[in-house]
Protein backbone atom coordinates (compact mmCIF):
# COMPACT_ATOMS: atom_id res chain seq x y z
CA UNK A 1 0.00 0.00 0.00
CA UNK A 2 1.04 3.58 -0.51
CA UNK A 3 2.81 5.39 2.28
CA UNK A 4 1.44 8.63 3.66
CA UNK A 5 4.34 9.47 5.91
CA UNK A 6 7.89 8.29 5.91
CA UNK A 7 10.44 9.30 8.49
CA UNK A 8 14.09 8.64 7.70
CA UNK A 9 16.79 8.81 10.33
CA UNK A 10 15.08 11.78 12.00
CA UNK A 11 17.06 13.68 14.62
CA UNK A 12 16.33 16.51 16.99
CA UNK A 13 19.12 17.73 19.22
CA UNK A 14 18.94 20.47 21.83
CA UNK A 15 21.90 22.49 23.04
CA UNK A 16 21.89 22.49 26.83
CA UNK A 17 24.39 23.85 29.35
CA UNK A 18 25.48 20.29 30.04
CA UNK A 19 25.98 19.32 26.41
CA UNK A 20 24.01 18.22 23.38
CA UNK A 21 20.76 16.49 24.26
CA UNK A 22 19.77 13.87 21.70
CA UNK A 23 15.99 14.04 22.22
CA UNK A 24 15.24 12.24 18.95
CA UNK A 25 18.17 10.31 17.63
CA UNK A 26 17.91 8.59 14.30
CA UNK A 27 14.31 7.41 14.11
CA UNK A 28 12.88 5.82 10.97
CA UNK A 29 9.43 4.44 10.23
CA UNK A 30 6.67 4.75 7.69
CA UNK A 31 2.94 4.94 8.04
CA UNK A 32 0.19 3.96 5.64
CA UNK A 33 -2.88 6.16 5.15
CA UNK A 34 -5.76 5.46 7.52
CA UNK A 35 -3.50 3.70 10.02
CA UNK A 36 -2.45 4.57 13.56
CA UNK A 37 1.03 4.37 14.92
CA UNK A 38 1.23 4.35 18.69
CA UNK A 39 4.33 5.75 20.36
CA UNK A 40 5.00 4.68 23.95
CA UNK A 41 7.79 5.23 26.41
CA UNK A 42 8.48 6.91 29.74
CA UNK A 43 8.48 10.67 30.22
CA UNK A 44 11.55 12.28 28.76
CA UNK A 45 12.17 9.60 26.14
CA UNK A 46 11.38 12.03 23.31
CA UNK A 47 7.80 11.23 22.32
CA UNK A 48 6.58 14.83 22.21
CA UNK A 49 9.72 16.03 20.49
CA UNK A 50 9.27 13.35 17.85
CA UNK A 51 5.63 14.33 17.29
CA UNK A 52 6.46 18.02 17.03
CA UNK A 53 9.38 17.45 14.71
CA UNK A 54 7.36 15.21 12.41
CA UNK A 55 4.66 17.83 11.89
CA UNK A 56 7.25 20.59 11.48
CA UNK A 57 6.30 22.49 14.63
CA UNK A 58 10.00 22.44 15.41
CA UNK A 59 12.90 22.06 13.00
CA UNK A 60 14.77 18.79 12.80
CA UNK A 61 18.51 18.48 13.30
CA UNK A 62 18.87 15.78 10.68
CA UNK A 63 17.00 13.23 8.62
CA UNK A 64 14.02 13.47 6.34
CA UNK A 65 10.25 13.79 6.56
CA UNK A 66 8.42 12.55 3.48
CA UNK A 67 4.69 13.38 3.45
CA UNK A 68 2.43 12.48 0.52
CA UNK A 69 5.53 11.47 -1.44
CA UNK A 70 7.11 14.88 -1.01
CA UNK A 71 10.14 15.79 1.07
CA UNK A 72 8.74 18.37 3.49
CA UNK A 73 11.74 18.50 5.82
CA UNK A 74 12.63 22.03 4.84
CA UNK A 75 9.50 23.54 3.25
CA UNK A 76 8.86 27.14 4.26
CA UNK A 77 6.37 29.97 3.81
CA UNK A 78 3.21 29.19 1.86
CA UNK A 79 4.12 25.54 1.49
CA UNK A 80 4.61 25.17 5.21
CA UNK A 81 1.28 26.86 5.84
CA UNK A 82 -0.43 24.43 3.50
CA UNK A 83 1.34 21.54 5.24
CA UNK A 84 0.18 22.78 8.65
CA UNK A 85 -3.42 22.44 7.50
CA UNK A 86 -2.83 18.83 6.58
CA UNK A 87 -0.94 17.94 9.74
CA UNK A 88 -2.52 18.73 13.09
CA UNK A 89 -1.66 18.04 16.70
CA UNK A 90 -3.82 17.52 19.80
CA UNK A 91 -2.13 18.03 23.16
CA UNK A 92 -2.73 16.47 26.55
CA UNK A 93 -3.99 19.58 28.25
CA UNK A 94 -6.92 20.99 26.29
CA UNK A 95 -7.20 23.91 28.70
CA UNK A 96 -3.71 25.16 27.94
CA UNK A 97 -4.22 24.85 24.20
CA UNK A 98 -7.49 26.79 24.09
CA UNK A 99 -7.77 30.55 24.14
CA UNK A 100 -9.62 31.29 27.41
CA UNK A 101 -11.35 34.31 25.87
CA UNK A 102 -12.79 32.46 22.87
CA UNK A 103 -16.12 30.71 22.98
CA UNK A 104 -16.46 27.21 21.58
CA UNK A 105 -18.02 28.59 18.43
CA UNK A 106 -15.32 31.21 17.89
CA UNK A 107 -12.49 28.77 18.56
CA UNK A 108 -13.67 26.52 15.77
CA UNK A 109 -14.75 29.30 13.41
CA UNK A 110 -11.39 31.09 13.59
CA UNK A 111 -9.61 27.85 12.67
CA UNK A 112 -11.96 27.49 9.71
CA UNK A 113 -11.42 31.08 8.56
CA UNK A 114 -7.65 30.56 8.61
CA UNK A 115 -7.99 28.05 5.80
CA UNK A 116 -9.53 30.79 3.59
CA UNK A 117 -11.86 28.14 2.21
CA UNK A 118 -15.04 29.45 3.80
CA UNK A 119 -17.15 32.56 3.63
CA UNK A 120 -18.39 33.75 7.01
CA UNK A 121 -21.84 32.15 6.72
CA UNK A 122 -20.28 28.96 5.42
CA UNK A 123 -17.91 28.93 8.37
CA UNK A 124 -20.89 29.24 10.73
CA UNK A 125 -22.52 26.20 9.15
CA UNK A 126 -19.29 24.27 9.16
CA UNK A 127 -18.74 25.10 12.84
CA UNK A 128 -22.12 23.65 13.62
CA UNK A 129 -21.31 20.53 11.64
CA UNK A 130 -17.96 20.06 13.39
CA UNK A 131 -19.53 20.49 16.82
CA UNK A 132 -22.00 17.80 15.94
CA UNK A 133 -19.26 15.58 14.58
CA UNK A 134 -17.26 15.66 17.81
CA UNK A 135 -20.33 15.47 20.02
CA UNK A 136 -20.58 18.93 21.53
CA UNK A 137 -24.11 20.06 22.15
CA UNK A 138 -25.08 23.24 20.24
CA UNK A 139 -26.19 24.67 23.59
CA UNK A 140 -22.53 25.03 24.45
CA UNK A 141 -21.59 27.14 21.43
CA UNK A 142 -21.22 30.27 23.55
CA UNK A 143 -19.42 28.63 26.45
CA UNK A 144 -15.84 29.43 27.39
CA UNK A 145 -13.20 26.78 28.04
CA UNK A 146 -13.34 27.21 31.83
CA UNK A 147 -17.05 26.42 31.75
CA UNK A 148 -16.43 23.02 30.17
CA UNK A 149 -15.17 19.80 31.73
CA UNK A 150 -12.01 18.11 30.50
CA UNK A 151 -13.73 15.73 28.12
CA UNK A 152 -15.70 18.47 26.40
CA UNK A 153 -12.65 20.71 26.15
CA UNK A 154 -10.77 17.94 24.42
CA UNK A 155 -13.69 17.60 22.00
CA UNK A 156 -13.38 21.31 21.17
CA UNK A 157 -9.65 20.88 20.57
CA UNK A 158 -10.40 17.96 18.26
CA UNK A 159 -13.02 19.96 16.35
CA UNK A 160 -10.53 22.79 15.92
CA UNK A 161 -7.88 20.38 14.65
CA UNK A 162 -10.33 18.97 12.12
CA UNK A 163 -11.32 22.44 10.91
CA UNK A 164 -8.35 22.67 8.58
CA UNK A 165 -9.20 19.36 6.92
CA UNK A 166 -6.09 17.43 7.98
CA UNK A 167 -5.05 14.03 6.67
CA UNK A 168 -2.68 13.36 9.52
CA UNK A 169 -3.10 14.05 13.24
CA UNK A 170 -0.63 13.64 16.07
CA UNK A 171 -2.30 13.05 19.42
CA UNK A 172 0.21 13.86 22.17
CA UNK A 173 -1.27 12.13 25.22
CA UNK A 174 -4.75 13.32 24.19
CA UNK A 175 -6.58 11.30 26.84
CA UNK A 176 -3.99 11.12 29.61
CA UNK A 177 -5.55 13.88 31.69
CA UNK A 178 -9.05 12.45 31.48
CA UNK A 179 -10.86 10.03 33.77
CA UNK A 180 -11.21 6.44 32.64
CA UNK A 181 -14.90 6.75 31.82
CA UNK A 182 -14.29 9.86 29.69
CA UNK A 183 -11.09 8.48 28.14
CA UNK A 184 -13.10 5.73 26.49
CA UNK A 185 -15.50 8.31 25.03
CA UNK A 186 -12.66 10.29 23.44
CA UNK A 187 -10.83 7.20 22.16
CA UNK A 188 -14.02 6.02 20.49
CA UNK A 189 -14.51 9.47 19.00
CA UNK A 190 -10.99 9.51 17.57
CA UNK A 191 -11.56 6.10 16.03
CA UNK A 192 -14.91 7.08 14.54
CA UNK A 193 -13.38 10.22 13.03
CA UNK A 194 -10.51 8.22 11.63
CA UNK A 195 -12.91 5.93 9.87
CA UNK A 196 -15.20 8.70 8.62
CA UNK A 197 -12.44 10.98 7.36
CA UNK A 198 -9.72 8.48 6.53
CA UNK A 199 -7.33 10.09 9.01
CA UNK A 200 -3.87 8.82 9.78
CA UNK A 201 -2.72 9.08 13.41
CA UNK A 202 0.34 9.09 15.54
CA UNK A 203 -0.96 8.43 19.03
CA UNK A 204 1.55 9.27 21.75
CA UNK A 205 0.93 7.96 25.24
CA UNK A 206 2.44 6.28 28.23
CA UNK A 207 -0.70 4.15 28.65
CA UNK A 208 0.06 0.83 27.03
CA UNK A 209 -3.40 -0.68 27.14
CA UNK A 210 -4.93 2.37 25.45
CA UNK A 211 -2.25 2.41 22.80
CA UNK A 212 -2.72 -1.24 21.98
CA UNK A 213 -6.41 -0.65 21.52
CA UNK A 214 -6.12 2.27 19.14
CA UNK A 215 -2.95 1.46 17.16
CA UNK A 216 -2.11 -0.73 14.21
CA UNK A 217 1.60 -0.45 14.82
CA UNK A 218 3.43 0.42 18.03
CA UNK A 219 6.83 2.01 18.49
CA UNK A 220 8.56 1.87 21.86
CA UNK A 221 10.99 4.69 22.59
CA UNK A 222 13.85 4.84 25.03
CA UNK A 223 16.11 7.89 25.36
CA UNK A 224 15.51 9.27 21.89
CA UNK A 225 15.62 5.98 20.05
CA UNK A 226 12.99 3.58 18.80
CA UNK A 227 13.88 0.29 20.47
CA UNK A 228 11.04 -1.80 19.11
CA UNK A 229 8.44 -1.47 16.34
CA UNK A 230 5.79 -4.13 15.85
CA UNK A 231 2.15 -4.77 14.98
CA UNK A 232 0.10 -3.73 17.99
CA UNK A 233 -1.30 -7.16 18.77
CA UNK A 234 2.24 -8.46 19.19
CA UNK A 235 3.39 -6.01 21.79
CA UNK A 236 1.79 -7.80 24.73
CA UNK A 237 2.02 -11.26 23.19
CA UNK A 238 5.66 -11.27 22.29
CA UNK A 239 7.67 -8.22 23.27
CA UNK A 240 11.26 -8.78 22.20
CA UNK A 241 13.28 -5.86 23.52
CA UNK A 242 14.31 -6.14 27.21
CA UNK A 243 13.06 -2.61 27.83
CA UNK A 244 9.64 -3.33 26.34
CA UNK A 245 9.40 -6.44 28.50
CA UNK A 246 10.22 -4.47 31.65
CA UNK A 247 7.83 -1.67 30.72
CA UNK A 248 4.96 -4.11 30.13
CA UNK A 249 5.58 -6.04 33.30
CA UNK A 250 5.45 -2.82 35.33
CA UNK A 251 1.81 -2.21 34.40
CA UNK A 252 -0.27 -3.39 37.33
CA UNK A 253 -2.72 -5.98 36.03
CA UNK A 254 -6.41 -5.77 36.86
CA UNK A 255 -6.53 -9.57 36.93
CA UNK A 256 -6.34 -10.29 40.64
CA UNK A 257 -5.85 -14.01 40.10
CA UNK A 258 -2.82 -13.67 37.86
CA UNK A 259 -0.70 -11.01 39.49
CA UNK A 260 2.67 -11.37 37.85
CA UNK A 261 5.80 -10.18 39.59
CA UNK A 262 6.91 -7.08 37.77
CA UNK A 263 10.49 -6.83 36.62
CA UNK A 264 11.58 -3.90 38.73
CA UNK A 265 13.88 -1.71 36.71
CA UNK A 266 16.51 -0.18 38.93
CA UNK A 267 17.42 3.44 38.41
CA UNK A 268 15.57 5.97 36.32
CA UNK A 269 15.52 7.21 32.81
CA UNK A 270 18.13 9.95 32.45
CA UNK A 271 18.54 12.50 29.69
CA UNK A 272 20.46 11.57 26.58
CA UNK A 273 23.12 14.26 26.86
CA UNK A 274 26.25 13.45 24.85
CA UNK A 275 25.25 9.78 24.76
CA UNK A 276 27.82 7.06 24.19
CA UNK A 277 27.51 4.99 21.02
CA UNK A 278 26.21 1.75 22.58
CA UNK A 279 22.76 0.66 23.72
CA UNK A 280 21.25 3.36 25.94
CA UNK A 281 19.28 0.87 27.97
CA UNK A 282 22.23 -1.36 28.81
CA UNK A 283 22.94 0.34 32.15
CA UNK A 284 19.54 -0.88 33.42
CA UNK A 285 19.34 -4.06 31.37
CA UNK A 286 19.71 -7.45 32.95
CA UNK A 287 20.98 -8.94 29.68
CA UNK A 288 23.71 -6.37 29.24
CA UNK A 289 27.04 -7.64 27.86
CA UNK A 290 30.18 -6.21 26.36
CA UNK A 291 28.76 -6.09 22.83
CA UNK A 292 25.94 -3.85 24.02
CA UNK A 293 28.54 -1.09 24.14
CA UNK A 294 28.66 -1.10 20.35
CA UNK A 295 26.16 0.77 18.17
CA UNK A 296 22.88 -1.12 17.72
CA UNK A 297 20.70 -1.35 14.66
CA UNK A 298 16.99 -1.89 14.16
CA UNK A 299 16.68 -5.46 12.92
CA UNK A 300 13.64 -7.34 11.70
CA UNK A 301 13.56 -10.30 14.09
CA UNK A 302 10.13 -11.57 13.07
CA UNK A 303 7.85 -10.43 10.25
CA UNK A 304 7.25 -6.67 10.63
CA UNK A 305 8.76 -6.86 14.09
CA UNK A 306 11.85 -4.68 14.48
CA UNK A 307 14.11 -4.66 17.51
CA UNK A 308 17.02 -2.39 18.40
CA UNK A 309 19.09 -4.85 20.41
CA UNK A 310 22.06 -6.91 19.29
CA UNK A 311 21.11 -9.69 21.70
CA UNK A 312 17.44 -9.82 20.71
CA UNK A 313 17.77 -13.18 18.93
CA UNK A 314 19.63 -14.98 21.74
CA UNK A 315 17.49 -13.75 24.60
CA UNK A 316 14.22 -14.52 22.85
CA UNK A 317 15.12 -18.03 21.80
Amino acid sequence: MATLLEIRNLKKYFQTPKGVLHAVDGISFSLEPGKTMGIVGESGCGKSTLGRTVIRLIDSSGGQIIFENKDVTFVRGRELKALRQKMQIIFQDPFASLNPRFTVERTIREALMLTKRYSRPEAMDETERLMELVGIDQRLRNSYPHELDGGRRQRVVIARALATGPRFVVGDEPVSALDVSIQAQIINLLQDLQEAMDLTYIFITHDLSAVKHISDVIGVMYLGQMVEICPSNEIFRSPLHPYTKALLSAIPSIDIHHQQESVILEGEIVSPINPKPGCRFSARCRYSQAKCGEPQSLEEIATDHFVFCSRAREIND
Binding site: E42, D179, Q183, A184, H213, A250, P252, I256, I264
Partner: protein
Protein backbone atom coordinates in the same frame (compact mmCIF):
# COMPACT_ATOMS: atom_id res chain seq x y z
CA UNK B 1 -22.82 -2.17 62.27
CA UNK B 2 -23.69 0.04 65.17
CA UNK B 3 -22.51 3.50 65.78
CA UNK B 4 -19.60 3.89 68.06
CA UNK B 5 -15.97 3.24 68.57
CA UNK B 6 -13.54 1.27 66.52
CA UNK B 7 -14.18 -2.45 66.55
CA UNK B 8 -11.44 -4.88 67.49
CA UNK B 9 -8.79 -5.13 64.80
CA UNK B 10 -9.89 -1.86 63.24
CA UNK B 11 -7.58 1.10 63.02
CA UNK B 12 -9.77 3.62 61.26
CA UNK B 13 -13.50 3.90 61.14
CA UNK B 14 -15.30 6.71 59.39
CA UNK B 15 -19.00 7.10 60.06
CA UNK B 16 -21.44 9.10 57.95
CA UNK B 17 -18.96 11.80 57.04
CA UNK B 18 -20.45 14.85 55.36
CA UNK B 19 -18.15 17.59 54.08
CA UNK B 20 -18.97 20.73 52.13
CA UNK B 21 -16.99 23.52 50.56
CA UNK B 22 -18.25 26.98 49.83
CA UNK B 23 -16.99 28.73 46.76
CA UNK B 24 -18.40 31.84 45.11
CA UNK B 25 -21.52 31.63 47.21
CA UNK B 26 -22.22 28.06 46.18
CA UNK B 27 -22.17 24.96 48.33
CA UNK B 28 -20.15 22.07 46.96
CA UNK B 29 -21.31 18.78 48.40
CA UNK B 30 -17.97 16.99 48.32
CA UNK B 31 -18.57 14.12 50.75
CA UNK B 32 -22.10 12.95 51.31
CA UNK B 33 -22.31 10.43 54.12
CA UNK B 34 -19.25 8.23 53.74
CA UNK B 35 -18.55 5.29 56.03
CA UNK B 36 -15.33 3.29 55.78
CA UNK B 37 -13.46 0.77 57.89
CA UNK B 38 -9.77 0.03 57.69
CA UNK B 39 -8.50 -3.05 59.48
CA UNK B 40 -5.12 -3.10 61.19
CA UNK B 41 -2.28 -4.08 58.88
CA UNK B 42 -4.50 -3.97 55.82
CA UNK B 43 -4.70 -1.77 52.76
CA UNK B 44 -8.04 -0.30 51.80
CA UNK B 45 -8.30 1.04 48.28
CA UNK B 46 -10.49 4.10 47.82
CA UNK B 47 -11.26 3.97 44.13
CA UNK B 48 -12.91 6.76 42.21
CA UNK B 49 -12.57 9.37 39.51
CA UNK B 50 -11.71 13.06 39.71
CA UNK B 51 -13.97 15.05 42.01
CA UNK B 52 -15.39 12.01 43.79
CA UNK B 53 -14.29 13.33 47.18
CA UNK B 54 -11.30 11.07 47.85
CA UNK B 55 -8.82 13.76 48.83
CA UNK B 56 -11.43 15.51 50.95
CA UNK B 57 -11.94 12.33 52.98
CA UNK B 58 -8.21 11.90 53.60
CA UNK B 59 -7.83 15.56 54.53
CA UNK B 60 -10.74 15.21 56.93
CA UNK B 61 -8.93 12.38 58.71
CA UNK B 62 -5.81 14.54 58.99
CA UNK B 63 -7.92 17.59 59.80
CA UNK B 64 -6.14 19.67 57.16
CA UNK B 65 -9.13 20.94 55.23
CA UNK B 66 -9.07 24.66 54.38
CA UNK B 67 -10.41 26.38 57.47
CA UNK B 68 -12.58 29.09 56.01
CA UNK B 69 -14.01 27.44 52.91
CA UNK B 70 -14.78 23.94 54.13
CA UNK B 71 -17.01 22.47 56.76
CA UNK B 72 -17.38 19.00 58.21
CA UNK B 73 -21.13 18.97 58.70
CA UNK B 74 -21.45 15.67 60.47
CA UNK B 75 -19.83 12.34 61.01
CA UNK B 76 -17.20 10.71 63.15
CA UNK B 77 -13.66 9.62 62.36
CA UNK B 78 -12.32 7.10 64.86
CA UNK B 79 -8.61 6.51 64.81
CA UNK B 80 -7.72 3.80 67.32
CA UNK B 81 -11.07 4.37 68.96
CA UNK B 82 -10.74 8.14 69.36
CA UNK B 83 -12.82 10.53 67.28
CA UNK B 84 -10.24 12.86 65.75
CA UNK B 85 -12.95 15.37 64.93
CA UNK B 86 -13.30 16.05 68.65
CA UNK B 87 -9.60 16.59 69.32
CA UNK B 88 -8.02 19.96 69.93
CA UNK B 89 -5.65 21.30 67.28
CA UNK B 90 -2.79 20.73 69.72
CA UNK B 91 -3.64 17.06 70.16
CA UNK B 92 -4.07 16.80 66.41
CA UNK B 93 -0.57 18.12 65.82
CA UNK B 94 0.77 15.25 67.90
CA UNK B 95 -1.06 12.80 65.66
CA UNK B 96 -0.10 14.21 62.27
CA UNK B 97 3.14 12.66 61.08
CA UNK B 98 3.22 10.44 64.17
CA UNK B 99 0.16 8.17 64.27
CA UNK B 100 -1.07 9.12 60.83
CA UNK B 101 0.75 10.48 57.79
CA UNK B 102 -0.48 11.58 54.42
CA UNK B 103 1.29 11.63 51.07
CA UNK B 104 0.00 13.46 48.02
CA UNK B 105 0.17 12.99 44.27
CA UNK B 106 2.40 16.00 43.86
CA UNK B 107 5.43 15.59 46.12
CA UNK B 108 6.02 19.34 46.12
CA UNK B 109 2.91 19.91 48.23
CA UNK B 110 4.89 18.29 51.05
CA UNK B 111 8.39 19.53 50.29
CA UNK B 112 9.88 22.93 50.99
CA UNK B 113 11.79 23.89 47.83
CA UNK B 114 14.39 25.96 49.67
CA UNK B 115 15.39 23.53 52.40
CA UNK B 116 17.66 20.51 52.20
CA UNK B 117 15.76 17.23 52.14
CA UNK B 118 17.70 15.89 55.14
CA UNK B 119 16.58 18.82 57.28
CA UNK B 120 12.98 18.27 56.27
CA UNK B 121 13.08 14.69 57.46
CA UNK B 122 14.87 15.73 60.67
CA UNK B 123 12.18 18.27 61.39
CA UNK B 124 9.37 15.74 61.63
CA UNK B 125 11.59 13.43 63.70
CA UNK B 126 12.40 16.14 66.22
CA UNK B 127 8.82 17.30 66.35
CA UNK B 128 7.62 13.93 67.60
CA UNK B 129 10.65 12.56 69.40
CA UNK B 130 12.92 13.76 72.08
CA UNK B 131 16.06 13.48 70.01
CA UNK B 132 19.09 15.68 69.67
CA UNK B 133 20.30 17.22 66.45
CA UNK B 134 22.89 14.53 65.71
CA UNK B 135 20.61 11.64 66.42
CA UNK B 136 17.86 13.13 64.25
CA UNK B 137 20.37 13.66 61.47
CA UNK B 138 21.48 10.05 61.67
CA UNK B 139 17.87 8.89 61.71
CA UNK B 140 17.03 11.04 58.68
CA UNK B 141 19.90 9.52 56.73
CA UNK B 142 18.72 6.04 57.65
CA UNK B 143 15.25 6.97 56.41
CA UNK B 144 16.71 8.08 53.08
CA UNK B 145 18.49 4.74 52.73
CA UNK B 146 15.25 2.98 53.63
CA UNK B 147 13.51 4.60 50.68
CA UNK B 148 16.38 3.82 48.37
CA UNK B 149 18.23 7.14 48.32
CA UNK B 150 21.93 7.37 49.17
CA UNK B 151 22.35 9.03 52.56
CA UNK B 152 24.80 11.59 51.22
CA UNK B 153 22.00 13.16 49.20
CA UNK B 154 20.52 14.48 52.46
CA UNK B 155 22.29 17.75 51.73
CA UNK B 156 20.56 18.27 48.41
CA UNK B 157 17.47 20.36 47.64
CA UNK B 158 14.20 18.98 46.24
CA UNK B 159 14.81 20.35 42.72
CA UNK B 160 17.90 18.15 42.47
CA UNK B 161 15.69 15.07 42.62
CA UNK B 162 13.56 13.56 39.85
CA UNK B 163 9.79 13.15 40.33
CA UNK B 164 10.15 9.57 41.51
CA UNK B 165 12.98 10.45 43.89
CA UNK B 166 11.01 13.39 45.34
CA UNK B 167 8.15 11.04 46.06
CA UNK B 168 10.64 8.77 47.87
CA UNK B 169 11.72 11.72 50.01
CA UNK B 170 8.09 12.46 50.83
CA UNK B 171 7.63 8.84 51.85
CA UNK B 172 10.74 9.07 54.04
CA UNK B 173 9.19 12.08 55.81
CA UNK B 174 5.81 10.39 56.12
CA UNK B 175 7.22 7.18 57.55
CA UNK B 176 10.03 8.63 59.69
CA UNK B 177 8.00 8.36 62.88
CA UNK B 178 6.57 4.95 62.03
CA UNK B 179 2.92 5.89 61.74
CA UNK B 180 0.20 3.30 62.17
CA UNK B 181 -1.83 4.82 59.36
CA UNK B 182 -0.65 5.98 55.97
CA UNK B 183 -3.07 7.95 53.81
CA UNK B 184 -1.60 7.66 50.34
CA UNK B 185 -3.42 10.01 47.96
CA UNK B 186 -2.60 8.96 44.38
CA UNK B 187 1.04 8.53 45.36
CA UNK B 188 2.13 7.23 41.95
CA UNK B 189 -0.34 8.85 39.57
CA UNK B 190 2.19 11.39 38.32
CA UNK B 191 4.95 8.81 37.84
CA UNK B 192 5.90 6.54 34.97
CA UNK B 193 4.85 2.90 35.32
CA UNK B 194 8.37 1.63 35.93
CA UNK B 195 8.87 4.16 38.73
CA UNK B 196 5.37 3.43 40.01
CA UNK B 197 6.35 -0.23 40.27
CA UNK B 198 9.44 0.71 42.31
CA UNK B 199 7.49 2.96 44.65
CA UNK B 200 4.59 0.57 45.16
CA UNK B 201 6.96 -2.30 45.88
CA UNK B 202 8.76 -0.12 48.41
CA UNK B 203 5.56 1.04 50.12
CA UNK B 204 4.40 -2.56 50.36
CA UNK B 205 7.66 -3.64 51.96
CA UNK B 206 7.73 -0.77 54.47
CA UNK B 207 4.09 -1.32 55.30
CA UNK B 208 4.91 -4.86 56.37
CA UNK B 209 8.04 -3.87 58.28
CA UNK B 210 6.29 -1.11 60.19
CA UNK B 211 3.06 -3.05 60.55
CA UNK B 212 1.24 -0.11 59.04
CA UNK B 213 -2.28 0.18 57.66
CA UNK B 214 -2.94 2.11 54.50
CA UNK B 215 -5.76 3.96 52.84
CA UNK B 216 -4.67 3.95 49.20
CA UNK B 217 -6.48 6.51 47.11
CA UNK B 218 -6.39 5.98 43.39
CA UNK B 219 -8.38 5.92 40.18
CA UNK B 220 -6.29 3.05 38.83
CA UNK B 221 -7.96 -0.36 38.89
CA UNK B 222 -4.60 -2.03 38.32
CA UNK B 223 -2.99 -0.35 41.33
CA UNK B 224 -5.90 -1.38 43.54
CA UNK B 225 -5.72 -4.96 42.23
CA UNK B 226 -2.05 -5.22 43.05
CA UNK B 227 -2.02 -3.50 46.44
CA UNK B 228 -5.32 -3.66 48.28
CA UNK B 229 -7.06 -6.12 50.56
CA UNK B 230 -10.35 -4.28 50.54
CA UNK B 231 -11.88 -1.78 48.17
CA UNK B 232 -14.44 1.01 48.39
CA UNK B 233 -15.74 2.56 45.19
CA UNK B 234 -16.67 6.21 45.54
CA UNK B 235 -18.74 8.40 43.25
CA UNK B 236 -19.99 11.94 43.88
CA UNK B 237 -18.99 11.81 47.53
CA UNK B 238 -20.75 8.57 48.23
CA UNK B 239 -19.51 4.98 48.55
CA UNK B 240 -21.40 2.96 45.96
CA UNK B 241 -19.85 -0.42 46.61
CA UNK B 242 -17.39 -1.92 49.05
CA UNK B 243 -15.98 -5.30 49.87
CA UNK B 244 -12.90 -7.45 49.65
CA UNK B 245 -10.74 -7.16 46.56
CA UNK B 246 -12.22 -10.47 45.39
CA UNK B 247 -15.78 -9.18 45.87
CA UNK B 248 -15.12 -6.13 43.74
CA UNK B 249 -13.00 -7.72 41.00
CA UNK B 250 -14.78 -11.06 40.69
CA UNK B 251 -18.30 -9.80 41.32
CA UNK B 252 -18.49 -6.10 40.53
CA UNK B 253 -22.10 -5.30 41.24
CA UNK B 254 -22.81 -1.60 41.06
CA UNK B 255 -23.41 -0.41 37.48
CA UNK B 256 -20.74 2.24 38.03
CA UNK B 257 -18.12 -0.29 39.15
CA UNK B 258 -18.99 -2.49 36.20
CA UNK B 259 -18.82 0.56 33.94
CA UNK B 260 -15.30 1.33 35.14
CA UNK B 261 -14.13 -2.16 34.30
CA UNK B 262 -15.86 -2.09 30.92
CA UNK B 263 -14.38 1.28 29.97
CA UNK B 264 -10.81 -0.01 30.23
CA UNK B 265 -9.15 -1.31 27.10
CA UNK B 266 -8.50 -5.00 27.74
CA UNK B 267 -5.04 -6.02 26.61
CA UNK B 268 -6.13 -9.62 26.19
CA UNK B 269 -9.06 -8.97 23.93
CA UNK B 270 -9.56 -7.51 20.50
CA UNK B 271 -12.55 -5.19 20.64
CA UNK B 272 -13.17 -2.52 18.10
CA UNK B 273 -14.95 -0.11 20.36
CA UNK B 274 -14.56 0.66 24.02
CA UNK B 275 -17.61 0.86 26.22
CA UNK B 276 -17.49 4.25 27.91
CA UNK B 277 -19.71 5.38 30.73
CA UNK B 278 -21.90 7.91 28.98
CA UNK B 279 -22.38 11.47 30.20
CA UNK B 280 -20.35 13.06 32.93
CA UNK B 281 -20.05 13.47 36.70
CA UNK B 282 -22.99 15.25 38.30
CA UNK B 283 -22.66 18.81 39.50
CA UNK B 284 -21.68 18.67 43.19
CA UNK B 285 -23.52 21.94 43.83
CA UNK B 286 -26.76 20.46 42.57
CA UNK B 287 -27.14 16.86 43.68
CA UNK B 288 -30.07 14.93 42.27
CA UNK B 289 -32.76 13.58 44.54
CA UNK B 290 -32.36 9.93 43.65
CA UNK B 291 -29.29 7.85 42.90
CA UNK B 292 -26.26 9.99 42.08
CA UNK B 293 -25.17 7.68 39.29
CA UNK B 294 -28.65 7.36 37.79
CA UNK B 295 -28.19 10.10 35.10
CA UNK B 296 -25.39 8.00 33.56
CA UNK B 297 -26.79 4.58 34.29
CA UNK B 298 -27.97 2.31 31.50
CA UNK B 299 -30.05 0.27 33.95
CA UNK B 300 -31.83 3.10 35.73
CA UNK B 301 -35.48 2.59 36.50
CA UNK B 302 -37.98 5.32 37.17
CA UNK B 303 -37.65 4.83 40.93
CA UNK B 304 -33.90 5.44 40.73
CA UNK B 305 -34.65 9.08 39.96
CA UNK B 306 -36.52 9.64 43.18
CA UNK B 307 -35.39 7.15 45.77
CA UNK B 308 -32.12 7.15 47.63
CA UNK B 309 -30.81 3.66 48.26
CA UNK B 310 -29.01 2.54 51.38
CA UNK B 311 -26.04 0.19 51.25
CA UNK B 312 -27.25 -3.41 51.14
CA UNK B 313 -25.12 -6.37 52.12
CA UNK B 314 -25.31 -8.58 49.06
CA UNK B 315 -22.94 -11.23 50.37
CA UNK B 316 -20.98 -11.32 53.64
CA UNK B 317 -18.84 -8.19 53.72
CA UNK B 318 -19.81 -7.11 50.21
CA UNK B 319 -21.99 -4.01 50.26
CA UNK B 320 -23.61 -2.26 47.35
CA UNK B 321 -26.04 0.61 46.93
CA UNK B 322 -27.69 -0.89 43.88
CA UNK B 323 -29.20 -4.35 43.73
CA UNK B 324 -29.84 -4.50 39.98
CA UNK B 325 -27.02 -7.01 39.49
CA UNK B 326 -27.01 -8.41 43.01
Amino acid sequence: MQNGETQRGELLRIRDLVVEYTSEGETIHAVNGVSLELKKGKTLGLLGETGAGKTTIAKSVMRILPETTSKINSGEIYLNGKDVLLLSEKKMRAIRGKSASMIFQDPMTALDPVRRVGEQIEEVIRLHNNTGKNEAQQWAMEMLETVGIKADRAREYPHQFSGGMKQRVVIAIALACKPELLLADEPTTALDVTIQAQILRMIEKLKKELDMSMLLITHDLGVVASQCDDVAVIYAGEILESGSREDIYDHPTHPYTRGLFDALPDINKEVRRLTPITGRMIDPTDLPKGCYFQPRCAYAKKSCRHERREMAEISPGHHCRCTHFA
